[in-house]
């Protein structure tokens, strides 16, 4: 095939692909334009998860009628004039291609009026083709951009979109984050006719924080404020006890721009140094301000990646700002009742001076059930049940010691209980889950994204035995819980499930159910550190014996370690290696 210059239309669609990946990217570009135009009132309307309609209306500067067509041209911007400007960017936009890109993959209209003029003008574009020139219309001061039928002319793109739920919650997330970064701007987000977010524009960040997380979390968040020679770090971080299983609770802004930067979020996490459990991440909304010439935002068309001239400096700054905020609010341990004086804290076993496992020869078999890398719905577990076990006792309030026909078994009480609950739940789930009504329904307040996820999964929750009702925007009432979980705090149980929805975008139904059950069981299971009575220990063992896959917990960790007689004898030098 001979080499050809691509037709304009194709070229702009290719370029559009880089900027406009999904409905949320359209929202992002349009909201950023509104913010660049100094609007203090931005209304976003979304229908059909953004594929039917995205409309962003602002009360900003507006575009003069005679420049409307230019605004739509590729590489047309009012924000840069020379190449030097590129290294001193104070606006969110600068590439001059967002509107052109969006207009090339949708049916697009822009209506705008500058304050000084009486009438505004409207321009229609379909698939990148202007439908005539701007026509005069009556309009309020500001700009309204309507994007309909996104990707109607690039069906391939549509295929890559996630479920409507996911697309909608990405929009929620994005708008909420910008609302947090611009608390003096009034944001209104209406999705499918429902108000998903509304801020007052009062300038109070903590108020907005409640919509990003929820009121309870917002109250607990700690304030960070550190000023360095060249930059400033401020915002909110969660106290040590408030964590998530993923990094999604972390939001970073640089000079008013939301960025995704692994090294900065790592700096944040390192600020928690050793205070977090493995696999747990803090929640945060951190804002960093630094001179525009110290940061390069022109790294990627989506403008969410940045480069710093003094990366290490910044990294250290974030880390120590976080550390200082945490220490300033250093946690007071919660105590039941009012003790008049405090006993010394219980001693914990120290690994160093405690019992040491003997050096194992490589061929000795400590037969930990093979570790599953990841949970699968029908896990292929090491075959074989556990033999009848005779309980010896509990060690370190975390493990049970038992004797079997062939040696000693050490059982992790938490993992074992998790397995037991999981199998009971799955067995019951095959028929129908018994659910227990609460005396007093528990009200749950969730952030918009989580709330949408929960709402769309209510039928699934119902099948799992959670009866939940929508109770106003982003609020729910939990009316009943599965009986197997009646010992757990109902609110906490539901939250655990939502975290799972967040992890998986579009999991298969049966997989998500098993996965959620595993998660919830983890929450409900006895913890390490819990003293178990003889009776409880014995029940745990006999329940474990009846499990189908007793050797691993639902997440694939081993529930037990087997020290065979043979191994014991060899370790004690009673017999030579056989």
């Amino acid at each position: 095939m001979p080499i050809q210059i691509l037709p304009d239309e194709v070229a702009s669609q290719i370029a559009a692909g880089e900027v406009v990946e999904r409905p949320a990217s359209v929202v992002k570009e349009l909201v950023e334009n509104a913010l660049d135009a100094c609007a203090d009132h931005i209304t976003i309307t979304v229908e059909g998860a953004g594929q039917k309609l995205i409309e962003v209306a602002d009360n900003g500067q507006g575009i003069p009628a005679n420049q409307l067509s230019i605004a739509l041209a590729r590489h047309a911007t009012s924000k840069l004039t020379s190449a030097e400007d590129l290294f001193n960017i104070r606006t969110l936009g600068f590439r001059g291609e967002a509107l052109a890109s969006i207009a090339s993959v949708s049916r697009f209209s822009i209506t705008s009026r500058i304050r000084e003029e009486e009438a505004g003008a409207r321009l229609l574009v379909e698939g990148g083709q202007m439908e005539g020139g701007p026509v005069p219309v009556g309009a309020p001061a500001g700009t309204v951009v309507r994007v309909e039928d996104l990707f109607y002319n690039v069906p391939a793109r549509r295929k890559f979109l996630k479920t409507d739920t996911t697309e909608r919650s990405q929009i929620d997330d994005f708008v909420t984050r910008y609302a947090l970064a611009y608390p003096q701007v009034r944001f209104l987000l209406v999705q499918e006719g429902r108000t998903a977010l509304q801020t007052t524009g009062s300038g109070n960040r903590r108020e907005v924080l409640a919509s990003l997380f929820n009121a309870d979390i917002a109250r607990q968040m700690l304030e960070v404020n550190a000023v360095y020679e060249d930059f400033r770090v401020f915002g909110f971080i969660s106290p040590v006890g408030l964590t998530r299983a993923n990094r999604r609770g972390i939001t970073l802004f640089i000079n008013g721009r939301w960025v995704q930067d692994i090294s900065l979020s790592t700096a944040l996490i390192q600020g928690y140094h050793s205070m977090l459990m493995v696999g747990r991440y803090p929640l945060a909304a951190l804002f960093i301000e630094l001179p525009p010439n110290k940061v390069d935002v022109n790294v990627h068309p989506t403008k969410t990646e940045v480069r710093f001239t003094d990366r290490d400096e910044l990294f250290k700054g974030v880390q120590s700002a976080v550390r200082r905020a945490l220490l300033a609010h250093s946690p007071v341990p919660a105590m039941g009742g009012q003790l008049r004086w405090t006993p010394t804290p219980p001693q914990t076993f120290s690994r160093r001076d405690g019992w040491q496992p003997p050096e194992m020869a490589p061929d000795t078999q400590i037969e930990a059930a093979s570790v599953m890398p990841e949970y699968k719905h029908q896990p292929v577990l090491p075959a074989g049940n556990v033999p009848l076990l005779r309980l010896i006792g509990q060690v370190g309030t975390a493990y049970l010691v038992a004797e079997g026909p062939d040696g000693l078994y050490l059982i992790d009480q938490h993992a074992a209980h998790e397995r037991i609950l999981f199998e009971k739940f799955m067995a019951e789930h095959k028929q129908s889950v018994a659910s227990q009504t609460l005396l007093d329904p528990v009200t749950l307040e969730l952030e918009p994204g989580a709330s949408r996820l929960l709402e769309e999964n209510l039928p699934l929750m119902g099948r799992l035995g959670f009866e939940i009702e929508v109770f106003g925007p982003n609020a729910f009432k939990v009316r009943s819980v599965p009986v197997l979980l009646s010992g757990v705090d109902p609110g906490a149980a539901v939250r655990v499930v939502i975290e799972d929805f967040e992890e998986d975008e579009a999991p298969l139904q049966d997989q998500i159910e098993a996965k959620i059950i595993a998660r919830v069981c983890k929450r409900a299971a006895v913890k390490a550190g819990q003293v178990l009575s003889q009776e409880e220990q014995r029940t745990l063992l006999s329940d474990l014996e009846t499990c189908q896959s007793p050797r691993t917990c639902p997440h694939g960790r081993p529930t037990m370690i087997h020290l065979s007689i043979d191994l014991l004898e060899r370790q004690f030098g009673r017999t030579g290696a056989r």
Binding site: G337, P343, P346, K424, Q431, V433, D440
Partner: protein, 377 residues
């Protein structure tokens, strides 16, 4: 300190206080019992910082004094001593307690009484006076409904309120609610409200003596504690802080069906159902059918389990209102029927998804709410 006591009194006293000993603790003195002379009697005290128990026993005191004796060792020793007099003599210098009885001579290493946490001295003048047997009955009817989940501390307690001469105890674990009201024989001048750990009330019921004895309860202001005191026993407990759910609003005010059954027959049927409902869900179904001219009304209680099988039992009943099919946690039913204390009991229901209310017939002071269960779709 030099005292003489009767072995049987000492064994009894140690038995009472030992429940408050904290055996596994990092504060060694909490594993000990305080032994102190106190106005002509010998005082034994133990505390785990949450609950403290004191018992006074008769003694012949030659020298005043006090020490703390390892609880386990002391109780084991006293258990082996013959009936009759036990002489105890403390060597203060070495904190060694010399115990002599009959032909046996023992020395126990003690810890200085100074290290023992101070026990509050109650002001009994403005306390509330209960009759022991009434109090024990009240406790029995509510404590079992308290939660054992430490994550929601208020629910692990019993709300006790006193107003004029009416005392109310209420406990709820999130799925059921037990409320007992009673009149005091001696009115109280003061209104009181406190959340008392269910565990403390259980202990109180165990040690409070019996019959016509009285117990005085006081809430020393600003200390977050409650003190119960009889002639020779005292129990102190930390109160639970927080606000108890507004339980009055949970109690249903109307019903569509009222089922009156023999408490004993209903209890028996529930026990039978529980055998089969035991694994997993504890779910039992009640099929309530009003009678007609030909046959009396009935409640059919059924339960089934994949593994064990199934069971059905029918209990005759007097039923007013519509038939209803409702499911409950059978353990909850059994636990309340165990304590109703009247020959007949009424179960009031509105619908399958609405709470059930249990009232003993002829005893207006007690009521119990149980939330229903259902099988998910």
């Amino acid at each position: 300190m030099k005292v003489s006591v009767l072995q049987e009194n000492l064994a009894h006293g140690l038995g009472i206080v030992s429940r408050a000993v904290a055996p596994r603790t990092t504060l060694p003195v909490l594993a000990n019992v305080l032994v102190a002379t106190d106005e002509g009697r010998l005082r034994l005290s133990a505390t785990n910082l949450e609950i403290g128990i004191t018992c006074w026993i008769g003694a012949k005191i030659s020298d005043e004094g006090s020490t703390t004796v390892p609880a386990r060792t002391f109780a084991d020793l006293v258990g082996t001593l013959p009936d009759g007099q036990v002489d105890m003599d403390l060597v203060v210098q070495t904190q060694t307690l010399h115990v002599r009885s009959g032909t046996s001579n023992t020395d126990i290493k003690c810890i200085d009484a100074q290290e023992f946490p101070p026990m509050p001295v109650p002001d009994l003048r403005d306390g509330v006076v209960f009759n022991v047997s009434d109090l024990r009955e009240m406790i029995k009817q509510v404590v079992f409904a308290a939660s054992s989940d430490e994550a929601r501390p208020v629910l692990t307690g019993v709300l006790l309120t006193v107003e004029d001469n009416l005392v109310t105890m209420a406990a709820a674990d999130g799925f059921r609610l037990s409320v007992r009201k009673a009149e005091l024989s001696q009115g109280s001048a003061q209104s009181m409200k406190a959340i008392i750990p269910a565990r403390a009330l259980n202990e109180l019921a165990r040690i409070a003596g019996d019959g016509d004895d009285t117990v005085t309860m006081s809430l020393p202001p600003g200390r977050g504690q409650v003190i119960f005191r009889t002639d020779d026993v005292e129990l102190t407990s930390q109160l639970i802080e927080g606000s108890f759910p507004d339980f009055e609003q949970i109690i249903p005010v109307m019903h569509n069906t009222r089922t009156v059954v023999s408490s004993a027959a209903f209890l028996k049927a529930c026990k039978q159902a529980e055998i089969f409902a035991r694994d997993g869900s504890h779910i039992a179904r009640l099929n309530i059918t009003p009678g007609d001219e030909l046959q009396p009304g009935s409640v059919e209680i059924s339960a089934q389990s994949e593994e064990t099988g199934s069971s059905e039992a029918v209990v005759e009943a007097t039923i007013e209102g519509q038939p209803v099919l409702i499911a409950f946690n059978v353990r909850y039913l059994r636990e309340v029927l165990d304590v109703v204390g009247t020959p007949n009991v009424a179960l009031e229901t509105t619908a399958a998804a609405a709470p059930g209310l249990i009232r003993p017939m002829g005893d207006d002071g007690f009521l119990h709410v149980i939330m229903p269960m259902h099988l998910g779709g």
